[in-house]
């Protein structure tokens, strides 16, 4: 009798729904994650990939990754890529969100148009930028040259000092609209009467932004930044399409290296090591995200 009643009063039904979600998460996210951690301690090659048991490797995979001559460069590249991408995606996205928040004719329509970039598949965006950034015949070089800003073409994809920044440039363009939309939603949630009250008190636009907009957006900003970091650490397609991590590894970031180790050299154990370390970073960032969104629901 008990379970049936709890179904009817809704409490058991809640549990049931949560149970499904939990079960799904455990099966399709938890187990693969766990398996990934396990194979990072094993010797896994191409043909033993399908079997569950592999010879153990202890910390060998970890040590060989840390000692790899590429490791230090990849770490720096990943930090530069993540910080560079997120910082500009966010500030430009915020600027656009504020701009479209001014209620001028067609504002929402234009804002929607920006999403077109974000809904495109990453590989398509990558191929597009690959053309734009081409050294000899690229549009970007052509524009810069004809404006007299540069005197020699820049080999965006092939110059080891520039290649990483080329991908960052493409990634900023790609991820900015998403930042803008989330921040727009945050802006829309701020009650207008706060601004009206501030206006009556004679606050300047800057004071309004600094004392109303930013504090009210705190949780949104936390969430957007956390998501930005996570999405940036996931970014793979742009590397594959624009530089393939090269030349000479100069634009290789952790996620791309992990893929190269696993699916180009079939060294799944070492590939897993990198993803385990990335999971730890993402977990930390996720905590920020969860805290931010929790504050949001309270508000």
């Amino acid at each position: 009798m008990g379970p049936l009643r709890s179904m009817r009063d809704g409490i058991g039904f809640d549990t049931l729904l949560i149970g499904f979600a939990l079960l799904y998460l455990l099966a399709f996210a938890g187990l693969p994650l766990l398996y990934n951690v396990i194979i990072s301690f094993q010797q896994v090659d191409v043909f033993s990939l399908g079997t569950l048991l592999h010879p153990g490797a202890g910390w060998d995979n970890y040590l060989s990754i840390f000692r790899d001559p590429l490791a230090q460069m990849v770490l720096w590249n990943t930090i530069i890529f993540t910080v560079g991408s997120v910082a500009f995606q966010f500030t430009i996205g915020f600027a656009f969100a504020l701009f479209f928040h001014q209620k001028f004719p067609g504002a929402t329509w234009f804002r929607g148009l920006f999403l077109a970039a974000w809904v495109m598949p990453g590989l398509v965006v990558g191929v597009l930028w690959n053309w734009l950034l081409s050294g000899d015949f690229g549009v970007i070089n052509h524009v810069l040259l004809s404006m007299g800003l540069i005197s020699e073409p820049i080999f965006w994809r092939s110059d080891i000092d520039v290649s990483l920044y080329s991908v960052i440039l493409a990634n900023i363009w790609y991820g900015m609209p998403f930042n803008m939309i989330l921040l727009s939603v945050g802006l829309a949630a701020i009650p207008d009467d706060l601004y009206e009250a501030a206006a009556l008190d004679g606050a300047t636009a800057w004071q309004k932004f600094w004392t109303i907009t930013l504090p009210m957006m705190r949780s949104t900003i936390g969430a957007v930044l956390a998501l930005g970091v996570i999405f940036t650490l996931q970014q793979f397609d742009l590397f594959a399409a624009i530089t393939s991590g090269g030349p000479a590894g100069s634009s290789t970031v952790a996620q791309y290296w992990s893929w190269q180790l696993s699916f180009r050299e079939f060294d799944f154990g070492r590939g897993a090591v990198i993803s385990v370390m990335m999971i730890l970073v993402v977990l930390a960032v996720s905590l920020v995200y969860v805290r931010s969104t929790r504050a949001e629901t309270r508000m």
């Binding site: 191409v46 043909f47 990939l49 399908g50 081409s134 050294g135 000899d136 015949f137 080999f155 994809r157 092939s158 110059d159 080891i160 290649s163 530089t243 393939s244 991590g245 090269g246 030349p247 000479a248 590894g249 100069s250 699916f263 180009r264 050299e265 079939f266 060294d267």
Partner: protein
């Protein structure tokens, strides 16, 4: 009694053959192109009244190995695969491919002696036969005859040594008109390895010995072409298809590439072009080139090995169509290249046929991707100036030694 037995055995054989024909069998074939030779021949084979249907799935070149590995690991692999030849050994050595030795020996169609030794070694492993070649290709030097004339060079006397190649590239480079002297690919992928190995081999090196005497000269030669602006800096990140595109567009006066380009070049290039053997290090020096193209193999876990092999036999029987229809060179000693009707392509056929004699296999080695990666790292780190050529090759050698020993 003996006669009865023989008759019985024959009858049994007949019924088993009849069974094969009566039972409808569907095979799967994964290949890089839905319009290539494999798909075309599979379509024809399916149309035949043999009860065998072949489903073709196209897989992007870059994903062939990954996708097949994933499928093999989970038991969802195809019956037949078309695979780039340096990747063949990894599968064969680990028992993923069916040993065809007995079937091939018994076959009336397939004869191992008909294949060039290079391609043959790519699909044999430990004395066993694990596939048949789709075709063979190699690389040579394409050159723009119109630009040669404009630069005061003899279009009938293309460069034949490294020095001549360097001089021609210098004379042809014309930044004002957006023309580079030469295009090739030094990309950090199998393509870079494929393009570099011939230069290394011309100095007496091989994939097993990349830092011997003269090996650094090969890498330095490439570096000179880049440093002096005779080739586009994007050579570092561009594949062969894209670099040949710049040649077809008139933005590179020479390009190193293979016969697979002939069809597109004949259609796209609005200038007169020719093909010549890869220049050698010095007059009379050893020739070399790369051996490319795909093999066909049957996965060991197929339920229909005989039917799959029957398709391989049909495929092999169509070798004479490879050149005229797909500009791919048959790997058969006994199949001459038929005329295509385009004089330039037919002239190229002769050059490529000769070049193929000097073509060396990549591997076979089950760890080929790692060997190749070491060579790519050496190419990229020296061309970008991070390491001296000799140092880069020494580093590659120590990685390769670790893999080979």
């Amino acid at each position: 009694m003996k006669q009865t037995l023989t008759a019985l055995a024959f009858a049994a054989l007949l019924t088993s053959t009849a069974n094969v024909a009566a039972q409808d069998v569907t095979l799967t074939l994964w290949t890089e192109s839905a319009t290539g030779a494999e798909a075309t021949f599979a379509g024809e084979f399916t149309e035949m009244d043999n009860g065998i249907t072949i489903d073709v799935r196209e897989i992007r070149f870059d994903d062939i190995v990954t996708e097949n590995l994933r499928a093999f690991a989970t038991g969802t692999n195809p019956d037949i695969i078309s695979i780039d030849n340096p990747d063949h050994a990894a599968f064969a050595a680990r028992g993923a491919f069916l040993d065809l030795t007995d079937l091939a020996t018994a076959s009336d169609q397939i004869d191992m002696d008909n294949y060039f030794p290079g391609p043959r070694s790519s699909f044999t492993w430990d004395g066993g036969v694990y596939g048949i070649p789709r075709a063979s290709n190699t690389i040579a030097l394409y050159y723009n005859k119109d630009l040669f004339e404009a630069a005061g060079l003899d279009p009938d006397n293309p460069p034949s040594t490294w020095d001549e190649l360097y001089e021609a590239a210098s004379a042809l480079t014309d930044p004002d008109n957006d023309v580079y002297g030469i295009a090739f690919s030094a990309k950090a992928s199998e393509e870079g390895t494929f393009q570099f190995l011939p230069w290394l081999q011309m100095t007496g090196g091989s994939f097993e010995q990349v830092n011997g005497d003269g090996a650094a000269d090969a890498l330095s030669f490439w570096k000179t072409l880049l440093d002096e602006g005779l080739t586009s800096p994007d050579t570092l990140t561009r594949g062969q298809w894209d670099s040949t595109g710049t040649f077809n567009g008139g933005n590179a006066a020479m390009v190193i590439s293979g016969p697979w380009e002939l069809g597109r070049m004949a259609a796209d290039a609005d200038f007169d072009w020719g093909v010549t053997l890869l220049p050698v290090r010095e007059e009379g020096g050893p020739r070399a080139s790369a051996l490319g193209d795909f093999n066909l193999a049957i996965f060991a876990n197929t339920e229909h090995p005989d039917e799959a092999f029957a398709f391989l036999e049909y495929f092999d029987s169509q070798a004479h169509r490879m050149w005229p229809e797909f500009t791919r060179m048959p790997s058969r000693v006994d199949v001459p290249l038929a005329s295509t009707g385009d004089a330039r392509i037919d002239a190229a056929a002769e050059v490529f046929t000769e070049q193929l004699q000097y073509a060396a296999n990549r591997g076979p080695h089950p760890e080929w991707p790692r060997i190749s990666r070491a060579i790519q790292d050496a190419i990229q780190s020296s061309l970008t100036g991070q390491k001296e050529p000799q140092e880069a090759l020494d580093d590659a050698q120590s990685v390769i030694d670790g893999i080979l020993n």
